[in-house]
């Protein structure tokens, strides 16, 4: 090996990246070449020197403890959903995947199909909100005011204002959800121990077959009762409002008063 070849491998050898064969050949050269040997020794010393001088740092014990405290906080309140609307992406994706699977698998079983395709995404989104709320209750009274982005979405479709307080209900969260390829404002209310989700969206592309028509106080509603929930929807102009609750005794039309004309 020539000096030139030995020096070309210099940093690979110093940084322990050279192959065994290269290392062996370089060592053979260094054994009888003082100049290269001196250079190799110097570069190795330089690397050790920089490491030793620059790797001394004050201990980060205090930093470590602060991180541990933040982890405890994070574990106690998973938080966020009611302020960060898109935390549910995973749930929605899972629901969408379940929906695709169900469409294929249960096409012939109409009721099953209907439930999983049209009802379950709303039910799941509602239940996800319920679980999040129980894990992270919002102090009552007062609740959480409607998220400005959600409010803007509702107002862009219908000129209404959103009442923060309906008698007996407290708004605890709001976000935007994607269900049936449609964007919905998702408002969540607590009513004692029960929870109600209200989805508001454009009715054009929404399909909710199999609902039973009921009339309450002179207005038309469509109602569906599934194993674990009840769903009711009604229309206002081009908008559809879908109320979901796991409490089947709750009179869902009550949440209609959340909107008042501006």
């Amino acid at each position: 090996m020539t000096c030139e070849e030995a020096l070309r491998r210099l940093y690979d050898v110093i940084d322990k990246e050279a192959s065994e064969i290269d290392v062996k050949e370089v060592q053979e050269h260094l054994a009888h070449c003082e100049n290269c040997m001196a250079r190799y020794e110097f570069e190795a010393m330089f690397k050790t020197f920089v490491h030793d001088k620059a790797s001394t740092t004050a201990k980060a014990d205090d930093l470590r403890n602060r991180i541990l405290n933040r982890i405890d906080d994070a574990d106690e309140k998973p938080s966020g959903f009611f302020r960060r609307p898109f935390r549910y992406q995973a749930v929605i994706l899972a629901a969408a995947a379940a929906l695709v699977l169900c469409v294929v698998a249960a096409f012939s079983v109409a009721g099953y199909y209907r439930y999983h395709t049209f009802i379950e995404p709303f039910e799941q989104s509602h239940m996800a909100g319920v679980h999040e709320y129980h894990a992270n209750p919002v102090p009552e009274p007062g609740g959480n005011p409607c998220d400005p982005e959600v409010l803007a979405f509702i107002r862009s479709s219908i000129p209404v204002s959103v009442n923060d307080s309906i008698p007996g209900y407290v708004m605890v969260g709001s976000c935007l959800d994607n269900i049936q390829n449609n964007r919905f404002a998702h408002l969540t209310f607590a009513h004692g121990q029960s929870m109600v989700s209200l989805f508001v969206g454009n009715s054009d592309n929404v399909s909710l077959p199999g609902f039973e028509q009921v009339t309450v106080d002179g207005s038309d509603y469509y109602r569906y009762t599934c194993e674990n929930c009840q769903i009711m929807y009604w229309k206002e102009g081009s908008m559809i409002m879908i109320a979901v609750s796991e409490d089947k005794t709750l009179p869902l039309p009550e949440v209609r008063t959340v909107f008042s004309a501006i």
Partner: protein
Amino acid sequence: MSKKEKFEAEALVHVDSLYRTALRMTKNENDADDLVQETLMKAYRFWDKFEEGSNCRAWLFKIMTNIFINNYRAKSRAPQVVDLQDVDDDFLFGQLSALGPSDNPEQHFFAKVFDDDVKGAIEELPEDFRLVVVLSFLEGFSYQEIADIAGLQIGTVKSRLHRGRKLLQKALWDYAVKNGFIKEAAK
């Protein structure tokens, strides 16, 4: 073992090492502190994404490097031009050798330069070079690990490390001459 205990045993043990690199990269204690906290909180949030048995330390450095690049690196991203035309690969070795064999100038040089001077010289390096120098010299990562952490080709890692090493040697030599530790060899 709970998630927290596992995280403590596998990830939090690297806090000193992360902090050391964060300090060299951000150049101040507050930012370094924030950067490490942000890194470890993010790692904790994504702990289920970490593949058990793989290299946790490299994974943490990758998270930290991404946060640093996105949030902390100097605002101006003009290409970092470094003029090394006059500097030979063996610049420092050559300068020290020229001082003569009898006084053992290398030993003298290595003994005289202080910790803070080396840290300062590293912090003076342009960011692109500083990152690979710190990951290699201080943290002992391999070329491949550095390529993964910094999202670079392995060839880029090698060339930046080569130039970073040269810049560092030049800076330390200039420093030693300026402070009179060493008398520059007669021209």
